[in-house]
């Protein structure tokens, strides 16, 4: 009797799931029909003609159907519980890591005996499993630490704190030796790309993320035109260095001050606006700056940009191949990598200064006022906080760091053009802050590493080209994924990946507050 009822229930649930999946497939059919099934292309006579892509379209609709069916049929609740238990068991995590390691090696060996395309795919999975091994090992260590030193006890807390400090010191040490290590491992030819694309590029975005984090994460003012300050910094350096021959070290603070000035200039008019209005006005401001850069050709050379921007020197000693150059002065053989390494350390120091200043500011009255402003503006005013100066200082300081990063960018590229300062660039920086967790320094840094490093890595991977065809350009999909990630993060974890809040001021002991308990912006 019971079994029969069970059977009926499961059959009807299967039916319901099938119906839901069919509905999803139908919606996907309608949504994708115009833009996926057809493609408007210009033919040789430059007339628009239609291409059809029925197999691709069918595949997408099938994926929608299968995905919804799985979603409906999987026992999600029990899976969630099991996954949570799995993530807390160090032993199980370690065995998963071992399994992944074995799989990775099997695939690596198999790749050797396979044909070209298959080998590339096998190799891709090798990377994937190697990465999974790494992730599982870290997870296992984390789970072990959590189990060994429970947060409830005094020693546990102390140990956790020590481990945290140790990790931070370790990370800092790694960042310091990173270029030297690469140089030693890969030589000057092999390492320059890794220092430049992965080191400097990521650190610029970490710095921009931390700068914007002051405005968005701490003061709660969504700034969609942050790239304007980056542009102000870059053009200030480029123009002043070319016209007046001033050095990088004089112009760096000057660019920061100019950007901060523009930050105040933007801040003044938008003081009265809140939330979404403010976001749109900052966006308009960013666009105006970019349009002026494009159209004021006499000053900025328009679309063509400014080239031949002087490169930074080692405190007055240029990185050139000559008797006065850096290499000759220090008795080294000339090598282009010294400049790259120097730039790496400059941006590292700049980023660390940003982080340090932000951390200190949070403890000052102004920083606490920012955070209070983020939580409730009306309450702030009732308590006598001057919201004008609070907002303006957030804009100015955030913009200043953007200006620093901009002048560094100009010095590193030796070339600036309006194309580097589009709304999409602002969107990338906002995405970094939002995905990392608004207000969390570590989260923002991690998001920058994942997003920018991931983009660069996608460029490097030949595997994707082997799978999707020669002319496959993975960077095309970068912004597509960012957009999707922003939506998903807002729905799934609206506080970002690192969503706990550690209060800046506390009574007796510091307690991390889950982001879920903080309701902000309801003012």
């Amino acid at each position: 009797m019971a079994a029969e009822a069970n059977n009926v229930a499961s059959r009807s649930s299967l039916l319901l799931a099938l119906r839901a999946a069919a509905r999803t497939a139908l919606i996907a059919f309608g949504l994708l029909l115009p833009l996926i099934a057809f493609r408007a292309v210009h033919d040789i006579r430059n007339e628009l003609v239609l291409e059809t892509r029925w197999p691709l379209f069918a595949a997408f609709v099938a994926i929608a159907f299968a995905g919804r069916l799985l979603w409906e049929l999987l026992p999600r609740e029990s899976l969630k519980i099991r996954l949570a238990a799995f993530a807390r068991a160090p032993g199980q995590l370690l065995s998963a890591a071992a399994a992944c390691l074995v799989l990775a090696n099997v695939l690596r060996l198999a790749a050797k005996s396979l044909a070209d395309t298959d080998a590339a795919i096998a190799l891709a999975f090798t990377y994937l499993f190697a990465f999974a091994t790494f992730a599982f090992v870290i997870g296992a260590v984390g789970a072990w630490v959590i189990r060994r030193y429970p947060a409830g006890t005094e020693t546990g807390r102390q140990r956790r704190h020590q481990i945290g400090v140790g990790l931070r010191t370790g990370a800092l040490g790694f960042l310091l030796v990173y270029p030297l290590m690469l140089f030693w491992l890969a030589g000057s030819q092999g390492s320059i790309k890794w220092i430049d694309n992965f080191g400097i590029q990521i650190l610029i975005y970490v710095m921009l993320g931390w700068g914007l984090n002051i405005v968005v994460g701490l003061a709660g003012l969504l700034d969609l035109g942050y790239v304007a300050f980056y542009a102000v910094g870059a053009y200030s350096y480029a123009l002043l260095a070319k016209s007046f021959g001033l050095s990088f070290w004089i112009l760096l603070p000057l660019a920061g001050i100019l950007a901060a000035f523009w930050g105040v200039l933007l801040g003044f008019p938008v003081l009265r606006l809140r939330g979404d209005y403010l976001a749109i006005v900052t966006l308009a401001f960013g666009e105006i700056i970019r349009l002026v850069l494009i159209n004021w050709v006499d000053l900025t050379n328009g679309y063509a940009g400014i080239s031949g921007v002087p490169r930074p020197s080692f405190f007055g000693i240029p990185f050139t191949d000559g008797p006065d150059g850096f290499a000759a002065r220090f008795g080294l053989e000339f090598n282009a990598i010294y400049r790259t390494m120097f730039l790496y350390y400059v941006i590292l120091v700049l980023a660390l200064i940003t982080a340090y200043v932000t951390m200190r500011l949070r403890r000052l009255p102004i920083g606490r006022a920012w955070e209070a402003l983020r939580e409730d503006e009306i309450a702030c005013r009732a308590l006598g906080i001057n919201t004008t100066t609070t907002k303006l200082s957030a804009f100015a300081i955030g913009a200043m760091f953007g200006g620093f990063a901009g002048s560094f960018f100009a010095a590193r590229q030796g070339f600036v053009s309006p194309e580097s300062f589009t709304f999409m660039e602002s969107a990338v920086i906002v995405a970094i802050v939002v995905l990392g967790g608004m207000g969390s320094q570590i989260g923002v840094a991690a998001a920058a590493i994942v997003i920018i490093g991931g983009t660069e890595l996608m460029r490097e991977l030949d595997v994707l080209k082997a799978i999707f065809g020669r002319d496959f350009d993975p960077t095309q999909y970068r912004m597509l994924l960012f957009g999707l990630a922003m939506v998903v993060i807002m729905i799934w974890k609206p506080r970002g990946l690192i969503s706990t809040r550690t209060p800046s001021v506390f009574l007796k002991e510091r307690k991390a507050v889950s982001g879920a308990h903080v309701r902000e912006g309801h003012g």
């Binding site: 969504l222 349009l291 969107a427 939002v434």
Partner: protein
């Protein structure tokens, strides 16, 4: 004088397109209190849908019966775009009701980026141009050899906008659906208590907004004859400016704002510099936000604790 009249004609055409997009912003803002940042890109997608539908139809029925083909294109674009916006609301905005204030906006920004890049990947980054349609003109009058003209497509755009606005005005002010919408604008909880299906009303709002955006998208395609994946951003911001200028939440305000922005843009291009026409539009946005945040016809926003 003749240049002025000509620019007036062009400006009203452009303004009609902005006005139709602006209604979408203003309706969604009215009912949800959020800036639907992706609306400009929904408009762009609708122009692409119209382009594809147009190409399919012309390859079937040939170059004759263009007018009939365009009517079909308009209806297809409206339906498909409505489905798209319905799905966007369902997936990206509905789960965020009751989340913190910036969450729906960030989600909308994500959606906007997604749509723009989806079209870029799916349809390629190049501008898509179609041969000019209805470019025959009527000469209104001639002064010193300068013809003041109005083209058939401009007349078609005005007529379509006018008819749609009337229909839309009837829908919002005279039908049960319109009453439900206005009730949800005032107080969603109370509306739910008196038996209004709030979720459905919001969905329908998004559907209507998308349908109007699709009309604008089709007209944009017919008028300019060219569309690219990046075409959602600037018209989107300008239409938002129009909505704010007219007073966000106010439907006649959106139309008036749209016409004003269209006129300002064309007159600015004609008399000052076309390079800075976008700067002019963006500056208006900033100036209006600062000095007239409630817009021409809007209600001032009251801060509540």
């Amino acid at each position: 004088m003749e240049v002025f009249v000509q620019q007036l004609i062009n400006g009203v055409t452009l303004g009609s397109i902005y006005g139709l997009i602006a209604i979408g912003y203003t309706m969604v803002f009215g009912i949800l209190g959020m800036v639907n940042f992706a609306h400009g890109d929904v408009f762009m997608v609708s122009a692409f849908i119209a382009l594809i539908a147009f190409l399919i139809l012309t390859s079937w029925i040939g170059a004759g019966l263009i007018a009939l083909a365009l009517v079909v294109v308009l209806i297809v674009a409206m339906a498909m775009t409505a489905l798209l916006n319905w799905a966007i609301e369902r997936v990206a905005y509905r789960p965020l009701r009751g989340s913190f204030r910036l969450a729906p906006l960030i989600s909308a920004i994500g959606m906007s980026i997604f749509l723009m890049n989806f079209v870029q990947v799916a349809q390629g980054p190049r501008n898509k141009s179609i041969p000019p349609l209805f470019s025959e003109v009527i000469v209104l009058f001639t002064v010193d050899g300068y013809d003041v003209t109005v083209s058939y497509k401009q007349i078609a755009i005005w007529l379509t906008t006018g008819v749609l606005l009337l229909a839309f005005w009837y829908l919002v002010s005279k039908t049960a659906l319109g009453r439900a919408q206005r009730a949800c604008e005032q107080d969603q909880k109370m509306a739910a208590l008196v038996g209004i299906n709030v979720d459905r009303t919001i969905s329908i709002t998004f559907v209507i907004a998308a349908a109007l955006a699709a009309v604008a998208g089709t007209m944009y395609l017919v008028h300019y004859g060219v569309v690219s994946f990046a075409d959602g951003f600037t018209p989107g911001v300008k239409a938002f400016t129009a909505a704010v200028l007219g007073g966000i939440g106010s439907l006649p305000g959106a139309v008036i704002g749209g016409l004003a922005i269209g006129l300002i843009e064309t007159l600015w291009s004609a008399y000052f510099s076309s390079d800075y026409k976008d700067v002019a539009a963006f500056s208006i946005l900033i100036v209006v936000m600062i000095f007239l945040p409630q817009g021409l016809l809007g209600r001032p926003e009251v801060e509540k604790v």
